[in-house]
Point group: C2
């Protein structure tokens, strides 16, 4: 599936996820995008690089790009373009993504995939009217991103927002219990996510919590259960009123946010 349309010098946004690699073309002037590829993530590095190369090459052959933005599934060294740690795709630990992309001769930016979801929701989606946002991306893993005072909050090492690695049950993390890989029923996973949401509200007291990522887009995250459980554990009566909502950009939010990395 490659539909290029009549965009002039669009950005290519790529979301490298635990189960899918998705691409969108994004017209930065008109805030329009459409999907250009959606393939299964191969289970080893060699096939992964072949597939990624092929999909990008198909686009480049047809369209001059303004830039490529890449959302990576894990701890990212943004400046060096290294995926330091990929908990759900361990064959990509320490992947020198920057080096790989240099061959396309197009300006490329990298960020964590869940932060890309938050960027797209903040700029164009459910977070448009807020300046303090916590976003939780639920998919194969669980990640997140934080907007403070209208700016993405990166933290010292550009690693802020790793909500999934919060320990919430003795030795088990939110991701281990609440993500796809937990193999629990949707309802039980939503309860776990509700506890995670309460923790985040108690810590950050944001204006809004946005749930996104593949899990939320595909309906695995039951927002009613999440809200109910979160209510129980939020300590501030004022903060209990924090809206907990789903993202608006659906399954492409991470790829769209990746394409927007040149705009933040």
């Amino acid at each position: 599936m490659v539909v290029i349309g009549n965009m002039e010098k669009p950005y290519l946004g790529i979301d490298i996820g635990g189960s899918k690699i998705k691409g969108v073309l994004f017209d930065s002037r008109k805030n329009r995008w459409f999907p250009v590829f959606n393939v299964k993530t191969p289970k080893n590095k060699k096939d992964f690089l072949i597939i990624l190369d092929r999909e990008i090459d198909k686009i480049i052959q047809k369209k001059k790009l303004a830039g490529i933005g890449v959302g990576l599934p894990g701890v990212v060294d943004l400046k060096k373009g290294i995926l330091i740690k990929a908990p759900n795709l361990p064959f990509l630990n320490n992947w020198q993504a920057g080096k790989f992309f240099s061959k396309f001769k197009v300006k490329t930016k990298f960020d964590n995939d869940s932060r890309c979801f938050v960027i797209s929701e903040f700029i164009l989606g459910a977070g448009r009217n807020y300046k303090n946002i916590a976003g939780i991306g639920v998919g194969t893993g669980i990640g997140g991103g934080i907007v403070i005072n209208n700016k993405i909050y990166y933290g010292k090492n550009y690693n802020a927002g790793e909500f999934g690695h919060m320990i919430i049950d003795g030795k088990k993390s939110l991701e281990q219990m609440g993500a796809k890989r937990a193999f629990l029923k949707y309802g039980d996973r939503s309860k776990i996510i509700g506890i995670g949401v309460a923790n985040i509200i108690n810590i950050l007291n944001p204006e809004v919590v946005i749930l996104g990522g593949g899990g939320a887009a595909e309906g695995e995250v039951k927002i009613g259960i999440v809200r109910k459980i979160a209510q129980k554990y939020i300590v501030s009566p004022l903060a209990k009123k924090t809206p907990v909502i789903k993202g608006k950009l659906g399954e492409n939010s991470q790829a769209v946010g990746s394409a927007m990395l040149f705009r933040i």
Copy 2:
């Protein structure tokens, strides 16, 4: 114990804690302070108000104050001066502190007690050289405060930094397991606090984590254990290097920070 010294128009900082009520006088020009009272927190509201009134009155009789800053143990409505919820002193739930203090005819400001600890460490203590700080106050309860980009981060309802209410063990919170009231051995409490520190670093990726409050000042919090456990659960190899240190202002840090509420 009332030693007034030769300060001119000092601020009075009051730390209302689960076990002690402490007061310091603070000279804002010279950044000097000294303790002026330290009494046990009564177990009912009537005695509490009598004691608080008596201690403040003794100071006011001797010295003209520039202002009074009060650190309250729980969820605070800063603007209205209401202690909305005091988990460790439930008889103070919904206490109209602003009304009580109005009788002293001195400008008064209120904040959460652990945030006051972070303010003092940020301005004068272990956080002086940092602009992104997470501070955890360990005492009868566990609270916290956040500095982002050289400013105290309050969140939408002024309730950000409630680290103690983070669920870390199924249904139990960091405070329930790690604070004085948990009645666990110091070492076991320090392990729990280590998990809390890892969670905070994974979420906020601050430049430094500062541990303070009575528990840290009195040596109940074993910093070596906290660091070791935190290392285990921090996901980013870069963030594993985050310094985790004790506050420098000791047991008076909350009262000193309360006196500094006029400076932030």
